[in-house]
């Protein structure tokens, strides 16, 4: 198990991580989402033993990661900015990995390289950006570590390769019970991959949840009545605190409701609606409403990304 307690890291005057607390269970895929500068990469570097915490601790199975070669031998970190030895091909990089990681498996390397269509003999610097990222992923997986860190790893991958990478990571987790931590600033990337999600903001994890809870905790309901039904009437049935969002257009109302879906449907049916639909809730919507309920403004948390996306 990975445990971070009161983890703090400063760079000169900038507080990158501020008393971060987090627990990541073994054998899960943990998605860490947050805007640029939220502290995701810093957290991964601390976890990978690259940085030393200024205060607080970060441990893997109770052992500190910094300058701990035994722990590091069980972890592979695929950073945002990739590194390959100048002029090296994948075979040479594999030799470097094999010398550092005791479980490196050349059979797995060949298998994965073939799956991605990567040449082992071609210099990596001739690869495209996406291929380099695939190469780094292949090398990391071939090292067969217990823990894998992927920093913005889906960047630069086309949708097909992205799905392939996700599938391979998932298979690896299932087959070897490895733990994987993936950081991204895009919630959509994590929706169908992660078991657990953490939202980083200003150097701390402001929200953490199991993906199964995410999918069951909130429901998006579209409901219509033959006559006008007020919000108060719905609140009377569901309870005011369980309605996270309410919008109304004519006779049709849209609600985001917390609680068990079946129970919600049962309660709403008591109002005899002419239409009652439970719609799929995207991860982004989930976060918007959860964040709002915690007092954060989702637009602030992802301000930069939203601006970049022209929203």
């Amino acid at each position: 198990m990975i445990i971070a307690e009161n983890l703090t890291k400063k760079f000169d005057d900038t507080l990158a991580l501020n008393n971060l607390n987090c627990k990541i269970n073994e054998g899960c895929i943990y998605g860490l989402v947050g805007a640029n500068g939220a502290g995701k990469s810093t957290f991964l570097r601390l976890l990978a033993g690259v940085y030393k915490p200024d205060s607080g601790t970060i441990t893997v199975d109770g052992e500190s990661t910094y300058e701990n070669t035994a722990v590091k031998a069980q972890m592979v970190y695929v950073p945002d900015e990739l590194y390959f030895v100048a002029g090296a091909n994948m075979k040479q990089m594999a030799a470097l990995y094999a010398s550092a990681y005791p479980n490196f498996d050349y059979g797995r390397l060949n298998e994965l390289a073939e799956a991605f269509g990567l040449s082992l003999k071609k210099p990596i610097n001739t690869f495209s950006k996406g291929m380099k990222r695939q190469a780094a992923t292949v090398l990391a997986l071939a090292a067969k570590p217990r823990i894998l860190f992927f920093d913005e790893t889906f960047d630069g991958l086309d949708p097909i390769v992205r799905n392939t990478v996700k599938k391979i990571i998932c298979a690896d987790v299932v087959d070897r019970k490895s733990t994987t931590i993936i950081t991204t600033h895009s919630l959509r990337e994590l929706e169908d991959t992660c078991d657990q999600l953490g939202l980083m903001y200003n150097g701390g994890i402001v929200f953490e949840s199991d993906i199964s809870d995410v999918k069951t905790a909130l429901s998006k309901v579209q409901i219509a009545f033959s006559s006008e039904v007020s919000r108060e009437s719905i609140e009377a049935v569901l309870g005011a605190e369980s309605i996270r969002s309410y919008t109304n257009k004519g006779s049709v109302s849209n609600l985001i409701v917390s609680g068990d879906k079946k129970e919600v449907v049962q309660k709403l049916n008591s109002l005899s609606p002419i239409l009652l639909d439970i719609l799929p809730l995207s991860l982004e919507e989930f976060f918007v409403y959860e964040m709002n309920s915690l007092g954060y403004n989702f637009d602030d948390v992802f301000a930069k990304e939203l601006a970049e996306n022209g929203k």
Binding site: F11, D12, R45, A48, G49, V50, Y51, K52, E67, T69, A70, K72, A73, M75, Y77, P79, E81, L82, Y83, V85, A86, Q92, A95, L96, S99, A100, Y101
Partner: protein
């Protein structure tokens, strides 16, 4: 194979990372070697063709292979910065800090890879050169010097690799890494040099830097890097220094934060580097200030003369260097405001430096042992350009019909065996000790409140100090410490010291010839024969017998006769009353044939030419006899 301190895979990775530079360097060494050895063989061929004797040979020494110094001047810096270049990029630094290899192992494996390339380059040159020259006729190689030189190149490569490991470990950019290397190489030398030279300028008791720090040069990295005539002992010291730097670098590498990549260094270290660079350029200002601010008159002159302008110019230059460094290290102007506030550190360093000079100068004046505290004194006689040793009138000697000489002088030379014997003589007698103690006290007493110039001006009017022709560099052993001072003796005092050399207890040691077995070199030079005609006699068996015979005859001579054999020319001071006349004079006309001996003491070579003539007839005859046989 991976251990806490070394990893084979990282070592091989280090070799791979640097292979392009390593191969180019090894190839360059091979080309230089082919050209050099080819040139030597061609010279040997020409010599053999032109000479009618097989004894003329081409002598090969370290200077012929001076291109090997490129190993530590260029190859190692390039290789080492290349090996550790991963520290200067965020992603590469993170990668190497994330893999399960201990940092100590990473640092030492890469450093050993760099040293391997350096040694490969040296070996590429040395092995074929040695093989070819060893079997070549008409070529004489001083193998000891040659292999000492190779050893020196190897150890200096280790030293430079160690320095760069330190520099790379504490910096995050190549520019600041090179700056740290520059500071580590030059700052101690320049600072120490400025420190002692300023004291030499302002102190009336010190005239040589070696009186404050003996062998100043040999402690300096820069000197190690430019000196070609290393002894094996110096090579070992340098290797030790290199290993110290490698361990220091490894420690700093372990402490290094990966996040300093792509920044000049951590804020504190960067401040120190920037201050050190600028401080070096303010040293001339410190010198001018220290030399002027030791008296009110000096301060007045400083503000009224050129020194103020000079100080401002150097200060301005240092400030420019400071800001240019800031700009080049940070690559932006953002830190200029902070840098401007922090320039005060440079001035604080200057103030400490000047304070240290005045403090050291005060300590020199306070160090005034009484005769009872002094164990012995010795006089460095050959370093000064005055007749160094004098002896009494020899009634048997006349010059050009003039009256017999009153006093005779010989000029002593550095690295001459007998000069060194005389200069290392320790005088323990109370008269000499008291003489030195009184002179030191008098100098301190008369100099109180005066600058060096003022003191000299006053001393000239002082009857006791009027004879500044006899400055003596004195070593004083007192209270378990050794202090070195320059004192000014009167002619009479000087002669008294000189005469002590001829007193039996001292003369016995001074005029003792070394045993044959202790000599590192011996041959007889016959100046009667013209050059190129076998004028050197090298037969070892004969030389041993001749030398032992010579030693026996030499020991039976008077001190004056011994001097005549040891110092072929000297001056007579034909003094009678106030009239004096100097004459250069060859004591005996026997210096055409000389035994040249070399003695090695503590890695330093000392020589002596011994005249072989009528005072040593048996040895002369023996030489003639062997010469005829040979």
């Amino acid at each position: 194979m991976a251990s806490r301190f070394w990893s084979k895979s990282m070592y091989l990775d280090g070799l791979r990372r640097t292979r392009v530079a390593g191969i180019i360097y090894a190839a360059a060494m091979a080309i230089f070697t082919v050209l050099t050895v080819g040139d030597i063989l061609e010279q040997a061929r020409l010599t053999a063709a032109e000479s009618d004797t097989a004894l003329n040979v081409i002598k090969v020494d370290a200077a012929d292979f001076s291109f090997l110094t490129l190993s530590y001047y260029i190859a190692v810096p390039v290789l080492a910065f290349m090996a550790f270049s991963f520290l200067y990029k965020r992603n590469t630094s993170d990668f190497y800090h994330s893999i399960p290899v201990r940092r100590e192992a990473l640092a030492l494996s890469y450093t050993s890879a760099v040293i391997t390339w350096a040694v490969v380059g040296i070996a590429v040159s040395a092995l074929p050169s040695a093989a070819v020259l060893a079997v070549s006729p008409y070529v004489s190689v001083d193998w000891t010097e040659y292999f000492t030189f190779l050893l020196m190149c190897a150890v200096l490569s280790i030293l430079v690799a160690g320095l760069i490991l330190v520099a790379a470990s504490i910096t995050g950019r190549l520019f600041s890494g090179v700056a740290v290397l520059f500071v580590m190489t030059f700052l101690p030398f320049f600072t120490l040099l400025a420190f002692v030279e300023i004291i030499v300028d302002i102190s009336f008791l010190i005239t040589e830097s070696s009186q404050i720090i003996p062998f100043l040069d040999s402690y300096q990295l820069i000197y190690s890097l430019i000196k070609l005539d290393f002894t094996p002992a110096q090579s070992l010291i340098t290797a030790g220094l290199g290993i110290v730097f490698i361990f220091l670098g490894t420690y700093l590498f372990k402490k290094r934060k990966s996040e300093i990549a792509e920044t000049p260094a951590s804020p504190v270290v960067y401040r120190i580097i920037r201050t050190a660079v600028a401080f070096m350029f303010t040293l001339p200002c410190c010198a001018v200030i220290a030399e002027n601010f030791d008296s009110e008159e000096g301060i007045r002159e400083f503000f009224n003369g050129d020194d103020l302008i000079m100080t401002i110019v150097f200060l301005f230059l240092a400030v420019i260097v400071y800001y240019v460094f800031e700009l080049m290290a940070t690559r932006n102007f953002r830190g200029f405001k902070k840098a401007t506030m922090q320039i005060v550190y440079v001035f604080i360093a200057d103030a400490f430096f000047i304070g240290a000079i005045f403090g050291a100068n005060a300590l020199i004046v306070l160090d005034n042992p009484s005769p009872e505290e002094i164990d012995w004194v010795s006089f460095d006689m050959y370093r000064i350009a005055t007749p160094a040793i004098a002896w009494e009138h020899d009634p048997d000697l006349k010059y050009d019909g003039l009256d017999p000489a009153y006093e005779g002088y010989v000029f002593l030379s550095s690295h001459e065996i007998f000069s060194d014997n005389i200069c290392s003589t320790r005088f323990e007698d109370i008269e000499t000790v008291r003489l030195v103690s009184n002179r030191l006290s008098k100098a301190i007493e008369t100099s109180y409140g005066k600058t060096k110039d003022e003191w000299f001006a006053d001393s000239e009017q002082d009857a006791l100090l009027s004879t500044r022709d006899y400055p003596a560099d004195v070593t004083i052993k007192a209270n378990g410490r050794t202090i070195k001072r320059t004192l000014y003796l009167s002619q009479e005092e000087w002669l008294a010291v000189s005469r002590r050399v001829f007193e039996a207890d001292v003369a016995e040691t001074v005029f003792a010839l070394p045993d044959y077995d202790s000599l590192s070199e011996i041959y007889i030079l016959n100046a009667i024969l013209p050059n190129g005609y076998d004028n050197e006699f090298h037969n070892k068996e004969a030389l041993e017998k001749i030398y032992n015979q010579y030693k026996e005859e030499f020991e039976a001579l008077t001190e004056n006769q011994k001097l005549g054999l040891l110092f072929q020319t000297f001056e007579w001071n034909l003094v009678k009353g106030s009239a004096s006349k100097y004459a250069k004079y060859a004591y005996y006309d026997s210096d055409y044939i000389r035994i040249h001996i070399v003695l090695e003491i503590d890695g330093e070579e000392y020589f002596q030419n011994l005249s072989l003539g009528h005072l040593t007839p048996k040895a002369l005859n023996m030489y003639s006899s062997y010469r005829r046989q040979w």
